[in-house]
Symmetry: D2
Subunit: 409 residues, 4 copies
């Protein structure tokens, strides 16, 4: 172990398990540690402080280990100055570029600690005009200044790692006489109301099951009541919604499986053709071709939506970004101002969005399949709260909470 550095961290290290995870990662990366100092908060509200010497086989291994540890909010005692190098090619970072977390981050430039704009994981840090922003590898340009190595970078730990989850935990006193599922719906509804009051945007990410499970009327009600500020989805949600509007759902909904049969008939390709003919979803609304459904409600309400395609798409609809990098850029452009994100019944677009969101934005993931919910958290969106439930009943319940008169017919 020829390379070593001293790190420190402060916070709820013990009961949050942060320290255990830090030490675990050191060993997992083939490094070693020595705990130099550990001042433990005696009571559970007290903060703790730890100083740890971490060593690795060589400088490169150490630099990568340090970046990894920063995901837990542990930083160099003596961070020094950030090292900047020029990108030599478009779309390529210098070899030892600093790979970002989605946590609040500051970079030491001269005397100042400059905050990173819009933290996003797995990006590089580009410094321009004294500002620091995250840039995905595909968007870096030759000549830009990129932060390299782990020095001069500090990650700021959120107050407590599991705080987002706690927000939804039931208080022991209230459960016995309550109905948990209703309570949970009420808490999410409450959080949405608060975000709106604070002027924040609510971001929805949805899969086709929103339509398959018959939740479209609930979704429309939420759009019309202003609880959807932007929707990210793929070709499938929009197509199934439009197909249902143009041709009815006369072929039925498969109740047992909670999904429609996508290639069971030719309605979907015919629906796509109609919208292509109109030119866009908005044009189809304007021309009176599309007169109901979720997409119609978004257009009428003037709500933003970003549709990004995938290799399995038929068509696609004219509004769909067929280039996934263009699609990612369009999604990123909608993120400023988002105060709450809810992901419903889609793994692909949920992970894509989770990859882009700062850890500071509360994020709820709802799916009937536990795998989707856990996969999102596994990929680094530690703030994600997963709810395994039925999409149809969930969205109807949410609409009942938020939209006066919904469901009373």
């Amino acid at each position: 172990m020829s390379a070593s550095e001293v790190l420190e961290t402060r916070g709820h290290l013990m009961d949050s398990g942060v320290l255990a995870r830090v030490l675990d990662d050191v060993l997992a990366y083939g490094g070693d540690y020595r705990i130099d100092r550990l001042d433990v908060g005696r009571a559970h509200d007290d903060e703790s402080y730890a100083r740890i010497e971490v060593s690795a086989a060589d400088d490169e291994s150490l630099a990568r280990l340090l970046m990894r540890l920063q995901t837990h909010g542990i930083n160099l005692v003596d961070p020094g100055q950030a090292l900047l190098r020029e990108a030599e090619q478009d779309g390529v970072f210098p070899d030892d570029f600093y790979s970002t977390t989605n946590l609040e981050t500051v970079v030491r430039l001269g005397a100042a600690w400059v905050p990173v704009e819009h933290p996003e994981m797995d990006c590089g840090l580009v410094v321009e005009d004294g500002r620091v922003r995250t840039v995905p590898v595909s968007d870096v340009r030759a000549g830009q200044s990129v932060v390299c190595g782990a020095r001069g970078v500090k990650v700021v730990l959120p107050l407590r790692e599991h705080s987002a989850e706690e927000r939804f935990e039931f208080m022991s006193s209230s459960v016995s006489s309550e109905k948990p599922q209703s309570l949970l719906l009420r808490q999410i509804a409450q959080q949405m109301r608060e975000v709106k009051v604070e002027g924040g945007k609510i971001l929805w990410v949805g899969g086709p099951a929103v339509v398959h499970t018959g939740a479209a009327p609930a979704m429309v009600a939420l759009v019309e009541a202003g609880y959807v500020d932007v929707l990210f989805a793929g070709n499938a949600l929009a197509t199934h919604d439009i197909e249902a509007s143009l041709y009815g759902t006369s072929l039925g909904v498969d109740l047992a499986a909670g999904k429609g049969v996508e290639h069971g008939h030719e309605h979907h390709i015919r629906a796509i053709n109609q919208i292509r003919k109109a030119g866009s979803i908005a044009a189809a609304v304007e021309q009176g071709v599309l007169t109901s459904g979720v997409m119609h409600a978004l257009v009428r309400q003037g709500t933003s939506f970003v549709l990004v395609g995938s290799v399995r798409d038929d068509g696609p609809l004219p509004d769909v970004h067929t280039d996934v990098l263009d699609g990612q850029r369009a999604m990123r452009a909608e993120l400023p101002g988002v105060g709450f994100a809810i992901m419903v019944a889609t793994m692909l677009h949920s992970i894509a969005t989770g990859n882009m969101l700062p850890a500071s934005i509360p994020l709820v993931c709802v799916d009937i399949n536990p795998a989707t919910v856990t996969k999102l958290a596994d990929r680094g969106s530690a703030q994600a709260v997963g709810i395994v439930t039925d999409i149809g009943l969930f969205l109807e319940g949410l609409a009942r909470e938020l939209v006066p008169g919904f469901g009373s017919s």
Copy 2:
């Protein structure tokens, strides 16, 4: 193929796929067929008639093939008389005993076709005093007359195999402006009301998730409103319900996974000990030890329940049948009069109950896990309608439909 018989069947053979399944089974059993006559109903409301000669390698293979085909309601053209043999030992049928289906069945004894009382699959047919009843192998006694071979037995096909499923299908005209999940809940609620009006009993089979998902208040409301006539469950549902009542759910409910951690603490074994001390669940209610929850409601309401144990049980509660054959007998004793069965969040007890129910009783199986739903249908309960949804939201929705004032607090 040295043995052959001629079979016939009448009904909706074509669009129901019955005929295809019959021919498929003949080949699967290593037999062969020749279609002697097929009068096809021209329109889809007309009945069809088929006469088929079926052959097999020997008499025993043929007899077993004929029994198999009877599950599709196809019978011998010339059934002849039933062959009766005496059981030689307690708990053992004659080698060539007729193995039952769960369909309506009649047995030719002398000049009369005698209906089988309470059809149940995988049993034998015992003839006593001119009556024919299904008897499981464990309950047959030496000296009893048992129907052997496939002759003299006819199975009566229900009007249409998928009729139960159709009952819940959405009409194309009504869907577009409706909310399918609400509609489904409303249809099940309506069917429950009709069964009660007709004087039928509603049988519930439940797993511990009824408690874990926070649906106990909904379940209590349904019990008190008279929509539960008998409950089949295991030690777990009752224990978790009683534990929640005695100790509160202060340790929280795992929302993400929709389940509590069963061995996370010692509450459950302590709850079991309390009830064992009282002597029974009813005694614990009487003594004021147990004052709330589903089991309390059942006792107060005078509703029957049958708890049957399993090898993984702790305790168990004093009301639990630890002998599974005793448990099965206690369950069978509750079946007469049942007009509707609903199975919620349990695979073990759902299959056990499905095994006992005649195919004529409508059966809805609700689970968040698709595997449970399909497994039940796979095992021969063809009438089962599966609903993959969230137990908590489903039961709350059902209570809202059936119990005035529920959920309005």
Copy 3:
């Protein structure tokens, strides 16, 4: 029902269940039927013949019902001539365009029945210079002649719908003394050998679990032995493979879950950056940057691969098609000559490929998740044989069968 047509079909209608499915679909589309004639094959090897009058509310409904029924190989008795209309816009079909199946199809042009080149589902049929080919909606150009309505088109039913599945069924005589899993591996291996002997190409579609489960060495062996002619995958498979090669798998493989933690560390984004710097995967091999793994083997062997991106991708690798329509076109260009397709551990790319393949190409889908396997079949790839098993053990077993010396170390 003001519109009607007479259809006919011939084949194994009864035991295959085809006729039941046809009648079912008529009712599902809101139409009605009358069976005019049904000549049943008496024995199970005999063909049957059916003539059915089908009616619908109006001409448009009827046309769409007829197209739907063609997926079962039932055609108009008097198909007449195909109706051709010009596409008026790029990327838009005429309203009543014929929507294709993936079955062998012929189109009546003048006196001749012209076979459709490379059947693909959910496309239109473009007629040019007397040839008929499938064109996806995004690729049609203004002025092209497109087949409209259902007249003048016939679908040719494959010999028996479940024939692909039968190919893998165990013969009753051989099972008792055999080991089914080994037998299954042996049958797939045998089919691969036969396809190679006949000069056909073997198409693989793979997900990142090929690498996560440790099956890369088996995959490399299969590539080197010539059993991979083309690979379709996403950014993830290639990235994980390259990351394992560049950085080792020192962070371990999560055996319990059969997957690696994708965002657990920054290796993958650093690996992507390396390849971007090299210019391409092939360039990285040439430059000595990439020296092992599946992608390395493909490059060294000169095997084609098509990588198509998705919205959740990091990077991506320089070889990845970021435009999904470009990606689909690149995939289609590799399909001619494919005689066998095997899909391993990927839902997205499997469905994308399934959408493009004619029903005549045998297709095996292997995944540990039953949902992937059933989803593919649900989407219209009726020829798909699903195998729910462990990817790692499966690929190692296949390599042991096909590659002399594999696994003997």
Copy 4:
């Protein structure tokens, strides 16, 4: 918080996460803590020492919290003497009985710390003749001395909580050139060989998928080679095995789903009847009725097996314990001497066995369904190593490792 105690623990508290879990549990039980002292091992091989004052609302809450914390191996600094009370009724513990963990435990009786014989979770501790043993609530008798409260009891933490898991982890150096799945099989095989060399017994717990997946020949080979010392199962495994032996598997194995159709035919009930007629499985072997399969091999080899029934059983076979408490007792009687346990494709019997096993016995759980694997660990069998894989390929691979000549035919 009116009641408090001081606890201490020593070991790898930091990187194992033990301390975090202890503090978490204190809060989850509504208690509070103060860390009095924490001597941290500086390097990762050093032990740490912690002394913590824990408080709760009252003595009863405190006692239950202390018992809970003991599952993490943290004990009272001043444990004092164990409090003994007489059980007043058969099958009922005193209210404040000590509820056991499955960890090594010692009880202070006078001057001596007496080890608990065969630790088993959720039991009481009965003291007789100076010995202490675990007794399930159903087996306690009036007048027996039962340990009450948390005083006088210490739990001994195993060296490291995740040591069992580590045993199977891949070393970073060996993976790159290795095939992980083969390596894993090799490691389990190696552990089985070592247990046999040390004179330990290998316990198998199996579900019917052992037969459905075609792994019976592998299982037979393992029995004959002496790698099965005792088998726990239900009626289903034995019935399907015997049915396959008596009637062949001519109806095929459903490869896609990895399971046979249980009620698809009447073979299974006829097979059960045959064995009931013979009197027992052993008698059927003796009489030449049963001549092959897993159960046959067990009888021929003289290997113990315990079959315990469930409410969904048909029959059952005469060897099946129909009383689940009798079944549990028969299982417990086989546990002494077990040095390794492997659970294959069964949730019910795996959990039942996991409930009974001391944490010191290594335990591997193999299933294609991740839910089974995680459920076992959730229920308190922390030592469980889960492997999500295909049963058939896994058992064949294991037989190839352990049984010379297997698979070479």
